[in-house]
């Protein structure tokens, strides 16, 4: 595929707002996970909570959108001169030539959970301040980003659980290649809520201690939250010299919430991505794993990586550092991949002490200097939904 320039990027997660805190934290090998202190969370676990989001306020004209998910989006978009870049591109192309494709799994359901607590459980209505369209509906984050930034091009939400905000890149690439847009804002956001905390708990996939991806004693995920965004254009040379060079998609066709034990679907997505990027496996310098820290996911992903890239290809998971941000996991990996290329380092895998002897990939524990030309990112979700991305330096 033709390269697509990454014109701007930003992210916000448990490390704090903007690329700066994430970069500093990952370069220092730190973890931003904290003991779970989320209202209503009554079991022992660690979480990746965006600091200070409870007091963040949206512009008053957008009050109907007020939801934790949208506050995190608003905070993220205010960082890294992202909005200035949007303004410049809007002046250049026109607001209706810019698309908005967002991934989410939670949307604003935290606010609906709270509204349900304020109703008569038998047959009562929801409180007057409940907003379905602007907060709960799956499409709400795309509508919010459009309204906040004054963008009027095609917009929708992709919601394929934990692969959502990787899949957005594939849709954006197609919109750009068809000439239906001149720039596309891609990204994703997910926020802490009791549905996901207790849902993953019900599946016995939540760790008591901080998540330890690829460790022999790993016991599951630490749930995090965050939002991240990029702007893609057809420009041949990006400002920072970084481009999207490929993407790959597949389905496991196996189970709703368990990955294929041999990682067949994941391997197929990686192979699809390599083919689209025109790269050989040996040309991948580094892989940001989905690396959730569950027994089954990590084993399955390891088999996929070994099958496609071999056991000498360096990889790491950032989920011990920021938690599993679910629908935002894809964009977290994507932004960190571009930071790795730009800053010349690879993150390590926070909390990994002893690699599982059944896992044969070369998993980095500590951050390292790395001159990467091509970085692969993985994201896999419920429903057997797999998506990978490839980023590279512009030639």
């Amino acid at each position: 595929m033709p390269r697509l320039a990454v014109e701007a990027m930003t992210l916000t997660n448990a490390f704090g707002p903007g690329c700066g805190p994430t970069l500093a934290g990952l370069q220092a090998g730190q973890s931003a996970l904290t003991p779970g202190d989320f209202p209503g969370l009554e079991f022992e676990t660690w979480i990746g909570r965006v600091p200070g989001i409870e007091t963040h306020r949206l512009p008053s004209r957008l009050g109907d959108f007020d939801a934790r998910n949208h506050r995190i989006i608003d905070l993220a978009l205010a960082q890294d001169r992202f909005r200035e870049k949007v303004s410049a591109l809007t002046r250049r192309f026109g607001s209706d030539r810019i698309g908005v494709i967002i991934g989410t799994s939670t949307s604003g359901i935290l606010e609906t959970e709270r509204a349900y607590r304020r109703r008569n459980p038998k047959d009562g209505p929801l409180p007057d301040d409940f907003r379905y369209r602007e907060r709960q509906n799956t499409a709400a984050p795309a509508a919010f980003v459009q309204a906040l930034l004054g963008i009027t091009g095609p917009a929708w939400v992709l919601s394929t659980a934990c692969s959502s905000s990787s899949k957005v890149f594939a849709s954006a690439a197609r919109l750009l290649q068809a000439g239906w847009c001149d720039a596309v804002i891609v990204g994703g956001a997910d926020s802490l809520c009791l549905t996901t905390l207790y849902g993953f708990k019900a599946l016995d996939l939540v760790a008591t201690l901080p998540s330890r991806p690829m460790d022999q004693n790993r016991e599951g995920i630490s749930i995090g939250e965050g939002a991240g965004f990029m702007i893609l254009t057809r420009a041949p040379d990006a400002e920072d010299g970084i481009s999207l060079i490929g993407y790959g998609e597949s389905s496991d066709a196996y189970h709703m919430s368990s990955p294929h034990p041999e990682g067949i679907g994941a391997a197929r997505a990686i192979a699809d991505g390599l083919q689209r990027a025109g790269l050989k496996p040996s040309e991948i310098d580094f892989t940001l794993l989905h690396g959730t820290g569950t027994r089954a996911n990590d084993l399955s992903e390891d088999k996929a990586v070994i099958h496609t890239l071999g056991d000498k290809s360096a990889c790491a998971s950032i989920k011990g550092a920021i938690g599993h941000t679910l629908g935002a996991a894809g964009i977290m990996n994507a932004v960190v991949a571009c930071l790795s290329i730009r800053e010349g380092f690879s993150p390590g895998t926070a909390h990994l002490v002893t690699q599982d002897p059944e896992i044969h990939s070369k998993v980095l524990k500590q951050p390292q200097p790395l001159t990467a030309h091509h970085v692969l990112t993985n994201a896999f979700g419920f429903g057997g939904s797999n998506a990978v991305l490839l980023f590279g330096r512009s030639s």
């Binding site: 499409a139 091009g153 659980a161 197609r174 207790y198 019900a202 597949s250």
Partner: protein, 264 residues
């Protein structure tokens, strides 16, 4: 870029409409504005028995639509795009109700059924297809966004695409805030190489400023305001039922329109 793509199969369910054949026999059909006494219900026959028991009614409805559109054709080579405004509204309501009463012992099946891509995930199990199964949402414009996504995949060189659009009425109390009174869904098999076309679509994207500029000079008008996320899909199907070459404009997701030439 204009994209010309064949429709090779159609599935449809709505109050009073059991399938594509029934819609063809009702050339004046409109989605009722009020709740119909009989709502379409899905069976999910294509699923293995254990998965059929686990799947929600809305997922089974979506899968029945997919099966009608694909007919006897094999399913292992299909890429799918599922689009819905509300998705799994019933199970999501059950989870909210439990949590509100302090009952945090959620069912693992209910949780994995609550994701927006539940139907897409069950479809990939039923179809055995390793190709992508997407799931998207654009509120009332979800069908247009899904059609755009399918056509863009076709333009990229992908073939054998399945589009499934579906929505059911949400339960009380969400129903007070989201007026979807009837279960309506449709499915299109698109760009299949081994099945004869029912109709051809030629699509292009018209941005909002272009629409403003051309609206005075005879460009296709957008259809009546939607009262159901399935309205746009039904408008497209009715042009095929009526067998007249037509120009349509469908909202494609919050901004701009898909201008579609339909050749039955």
């Amino acid at each position: 870029m204009r994209i010309r793509i064949p429709i090779n199969g159609i599935g449809v369910r709505a109050p009073g409409i059991e399938n594509w054949k029934a819609l063809q026999e009702n050339p004046d059909y409109v989605i009722p504005r009020d709740p119909a006494p009989e709502q379409p219900k899905g069976v999910g026959q294509c699923l293995p028995a254990t998965e059929r028991r686990r799947a929600t009614p809305v997922t089974r409805l979506a899968l029945d639509l997919a099966m009608e559109a694909t007919g006897e054709r094999k399913t292992q080579d299909l890429s799918a795009v599922f689009c819905s405004s509300g998705g799994e509204v019933t199970v999501v309501h059950q989870i909210f109700s439990m949590l509100a009463e302090g009952d945090t012992a959620l069912s693992p099946t209910a949780f994995h059924n609550s994701v927006h891509n539940a139907a897409a995930g069950y479809w990939s199990i039923a179809s055995g297809s390793p190709y992508p199964a997407d799931s998207l949402c654009a509120y009332d414009d979800s069908f247009g966004a899904g059609l755009a996504e399918c056509c863009l995949r076709y333009a990229e060189g992908q073939r054998n695409l399945l589009l499934v659009a579906y929505d059911i009425p949400p339960p009380h109390p969400i129903s007070l805030h989201r007026k979807i009174h009837n279960a309506v869904g449709g499915a299109l098999l698109l760009g299949a190489e081994d099945t004869s076309p029912i109709a051809w679509l030629t699509l292009r994207y018209a941005s909002s400023s272009e629409i403003e500029k051309t609206n005075t000079s005879g460009s296709p008008n957008s259809t009546a305001p939607a009262h159901h996320p399935g309205s746009a899909m039904m408008n497209l199907l009715m042009t095929i039922v009526q067998k007249k070459p037509t120009q349509l404009a469908l909202p494609s997701g919050f901004g701009g329109m898909l201008h579609i030439k339909v050749e039955p």
